[in-house]
Symmetry: C2
C-alpha cells in the first residue's frame, strides 16, 4: 500500500477522492424504474408476476408467492445445525443491544392542569428487502429485522427475489425466521419495492422499507420516499484505522483488508503517527494479499481508495478522522478511550486491538448498517429509532390557557393569522 | 361545510383526495434549480450575489451579506417591546420542552472486558432557512432554532432573503437573535440552499439544512440531500378534530378555520359521533366566515378539503383518524385521554377543549414543524433528534473475543468473506 505524509494537499485530495465514489450516474436507469413502479401501482400482482418471470426467470403467482412453512423447514435442513446455532448466538447479542435503544413516551404536568408530552409509537408494518443469490447475507437479514422487532413493529414483511427454481436462498430464510419476519414474499428488484409501497392483492402496503439492494432497488426506494419512509441508501464500505506505535501491524493490516474485500469502491485507510508502523502494515498487507481468496477485488480497492497516512501529531490524525467521518473507525492506540472522546464523526467506533471490525459485522450486537461516504457527520446507524415515530401531546386547562391567551392572540395577529387568534378568543368571549 | 355520513366509500374518496394535495408537478422547475446549484457550487459568492440581485432585486456583496449588530438593534426597535416580550415567553416554553428531548450517550459493560454503547453527538453546524416578506413567521424561526440549540449544535447559520432595500424582515431578526442564531446571511431561494450545502467564501458549509421555503427552496433541498442532511419537505397544513356530543361547537368551528386559513390546500376535518354537533359546527363555521379577514382562502380550502363526517361509533372515528394520520389532531370528547391512547398516527395531539391548535403553533412548547399528508405514520415532529447523530461503540477484550472467535470466523466464511474471517483469525494464531 502507498504510504504518504499527511499534509493539507493530501487531505484535500483524499476527501475529494472518497466523495467521487458517490454514484451519481444513475439517471439512465431512472426511466426504467419509474415504468416498473407505475406498472405495479396500477396492475398490482399481475405486474409483479410478469416482472418476476422477466427478471428472475421464475414463475410465481398468488398461490406460491408466499414462502411456506414447508420451505422454511427445508431451508433449516440445508443450512444445518452449526450455522443455525451461530446465527442464534449472534441474534441474541443483536437483540440485547437494540432493546437498550428503546425510548419511552414521557410527559410532564403542572398543577394548573397543563400536560405536555411525547408519545412513542412503533411503525405498524415494515418491509425488509433482502437481495438474492450471491449478495444474500444472513447477517444483514438479522441486522435489518432485529431493530424493527425491538421497536415493537406489528408486522415485518420480507421480500427477496427467487432463483429460477422459484426458491429463496436458504440462509436468508433461516435468518428471517429466527429474527422474526412475519411473512416472506418471493419478489425482488424495483417491483418488490413498488409492491411494498403501494400494496398489491398479495402483498400489503408498508410504512417503511429498509434493506440493501442493487441500483434498481436503490432508485425505486428513492422514488417512493415520502409515500413511505425508507432507510438511507448505502454507499461503498469504509474503514479508517487510527493507530500509534503500540499497534500490532498484523492486526491493522488484516482489518484494512477485511473492508477492502467488499468491492472495488471500498475504502481502507490507516492514519498513524508512526512511520515504522506504516511500513510494517504495508508489508503485512502484501503478505496477506497472496493468501486471500478475494485478492483481486482487494488489490483494486486498495489501488483506488487505500491509503496509509503518516501524521506528525495525534491531533492531526483525529482531525482527518472527523473530516472523513468513516463508516467504521478502529482505534488501536495506547489510550483508545481518550481518542474516542475526541471523535465526533463515525458510524461505529471499535476500541482496542481485540475489537476487529468483523466482530461488529456479525456478532457484538450494534447494527452493521452504518452511514457511509461522510454521512456519519449527520446520519446514525440503523436502530430502533428508525422503526418508531413520535407524536407531541398538548393538554391545557382553562386556567392554563387563560393565563396566556392574550399573548397567543397578539402573536397570531402579528403574523396576520386572524383565524388562529379567533380560535383562542372564542374560548374567553363573554357568553 | 358539507356533512357526510362516514362509510367505506367516503373514507376511500377522502384518503385519495387528501393525497392529491401532494405536489408532484414540480418537474418543470427542476432544471432551473439544478443550474442555480451548479453555478453556486462553482462560482460561490459571485453566483450568490448575482442571483440575489436577479431574484430579490437587492445589491449584496461580501461587505454586507452578514446582518450586523446595528441592523439587529434596529430590528428590535421596529418590532417593539410588546411583541419581543411575547416572543421571549413563547421561547421559554419551547426551550423547556425541547430540553426534555435530549438523549444521553450510554454504555453497558461486562466483567470480561466488553463495553458496548451508543455515543450521542450534536451536529456541528446547521443551516436554518427562513422565508422573506409575507411568508416570514417569527414563530417558525423559534421552532427551527430552539431544538438545534437544545441539541447542543455548535453553530447555527441562518439565511433569509433581503428585500429590495437590502434589509431583512425585523421580526425574523428578533426571533433569530432571541433563539440563538450565531449569524444571519441575507440570501434566499435555491442559491441560499446551495451556499449552505457547498459553502462559499462568505457562507460556511453546514451539515444539515432545515426550515420551510417555496418550491425552489424545496427542490434545492431535495437535490442536495445526501451531501448534507435536510428536514422533511412540508406539505399543506391539516387539522382533524375528534368530537362527541359534549364538545363546544363554537370552539370546534373556530379550530377548523384556524387551519383552513393557511392556504387553499389546507385541510380541516371534523369526525364526530353526533349528528347534532355536526350541524351546529357547520352553522358556526358559516357565522365565523363573515367575520374573518382571510375568508376567501378559507372558503376555497373548505370547499376542497373541508369535511364534517358523522360516524356510527367512536371506533370508526379513531380508525379514520389513524388512517388520515393528521398533522394536528384535536380530541374534544368526554374522555379525551382514553381516545389519545388509541391514536397511533398524528403529528401533535391536542387534548380537551382548552387545547386549541394555535396554542401549539405559538406557545405551549412542542414543535409546530410536524409531519403532513399522512406521513405521521412514519415521521415525527421536528425535535432534538434531528440535530444529533449516534455512533456505536464496540470494545472487546482478548478474553471476550476469544470466547466467540470461531463463531465469527465460520459466519464470515458462510458469507464467503474470507478477509473478514482472517481479521479475527490473526488475533488467535500461534505466534
Amino acid at each position: 500500500m502507498r504510504i504518504q505524509h499527511l499534509d493539507k494537499n493530501i487531505k484535500m485530495n483524499l476527501l475529494e477522492d472518497l466523495l467521487k465514489r458517490s454514484p451519481n450516474n444513475y439517471g439512465k436507469y431512472e426511466q426504467g424504474v419509474a415504468e416498473i413502479l407505475d406498472h405495479v401501482r396500477s396492475e398490482k400482482d399481475a405486474a409483479v408476476f410478469t416482472y418476476t418471470e422477466k427478471f428472475d426467470g421464475a414463475k410465481i403467482d398468488a398461490s406460491n408467492i408466499k414462502v411456506t412453512e414447508e420451505e422454511i423447514k427445508e431451508a433449516y435442513e440445508l443450512v444445518g445445525e452449526e450455522l443455525t446455532g451461530i446465527i442464534r448466538k449472534a441474534l441474541f447479542n443483536i437483540r440485547d443491544y437494540h432493546e437498550r435503544q428503546r425510548q419511552n413516551s414521557w410527559f410532564e404536568s403542572k398543577p394548573n392542569g397543563t400536560m405536555l408530552g411525547q408519545k412513542v409509537t412503533p411503525l405498524q408494518r415494515v418491509g425488509v428487502y433482502v437481495p438474492g443469490g450471491k449478495a444474500a447475507y444472513p447477517s444483514s437479514v438479522l441486522m435489518n429485522i432485529a431493530p424493527a422487532k425491538a421497536a415493537g413493529v406489528d408486522e415485518i414483511v420480507m421480500v427477496t427475489p427467487p432463483g429460477k427454481d422459484g426458491k429463496v436462498t436458504p440462509t436468508t430464510l433461516v435468518a428471517a425466521h429466527e429474527a422474526g419476519a412475519d411473512v416472506v414474499y418471493k419478489v425482488g428488484g424495483a417491483q418488490a419495492i413498488a409492491a411494498l409501497a403501494y400494496g398489491t392483492e398479495s402483498i400489503p402496503k408498508v410504512d417503511k422499507i429498509v434493506g440493501p439492494g442493487n441500483i434498481y432497488v436503490a432508485l425505486a426506494k428513492r422514488a417512493v420516499y415520502g409515500h413511505v419512509s425508507i432507510d438511507a441508501i448505502a454507499g461503498p464500505s469504509e474503514i479508517l484505522v487510527i493507530a500509534d506505535e503500540t499497534a500490532n501491524p498484523r492486526y491493522v493490516a488484516a482489518d484494512l483488508l477485511s473492508q477492502a474485500e467488499h468491492d472495488e469502491l471500498a475504502s481502507a485507510i490507516l492514519v498513524t503517527t508512526s512511520q515504522k508502523l506504516a511500513e510494517k502494515v504495508s508489508e503485512e498487507v502484501d503478505g496477506f494479499l497472496n493468501e486471500l481468496s478475494r485478492s483481486e477485488i482487494i488489490r483494486k480497492s486498495l489501488d483506488n481508495y487505500g491509503y496509509i497516512l503518516v501524521a506528525d501529531t495525534m491531533e492531526e490524525v483525529i482531525d482527518i478522522a472527523n473530516e472523513i467521518a468513516s463508516e467504521h473507525l478502529e482505534i488501536q492506540t495506547k489510550n483508545p478511550y481518550d481518542i474516542m472522546t475526541r471523535i465526533r464523526n463515525a458510524g461505529a467506533i471499535f476500541i482496542g486491538e481485540y475489537s476487529s471490525e468483523p466482530l461488529g459485522d456479525y456478532f457484538a450486537g450494534p447494527n452493521h448498517v452504518l452511514p457511509t461516504n461522510g454521512t456519519a457527520k449527520f446520519f446514525s446507524p440503523l436502530s430502533v429509532d428508525d422503526f418508531i415515530k413520535k407524536s407531541s401531546i398538548i393538554a391545557y386547562s382553562q386556567e392554563a390557557l387563560g393565563a396566556i391567551h392574550t399573548d397567543i392572540e397578539k402573536f397570531a395577529e402579528a403574523e396576520h393569522l386572524t383565524a388562529h387568534a379567533n380560535s383562542i378568543k372564542v374560548r374567553f368571549e363573554k357568553k
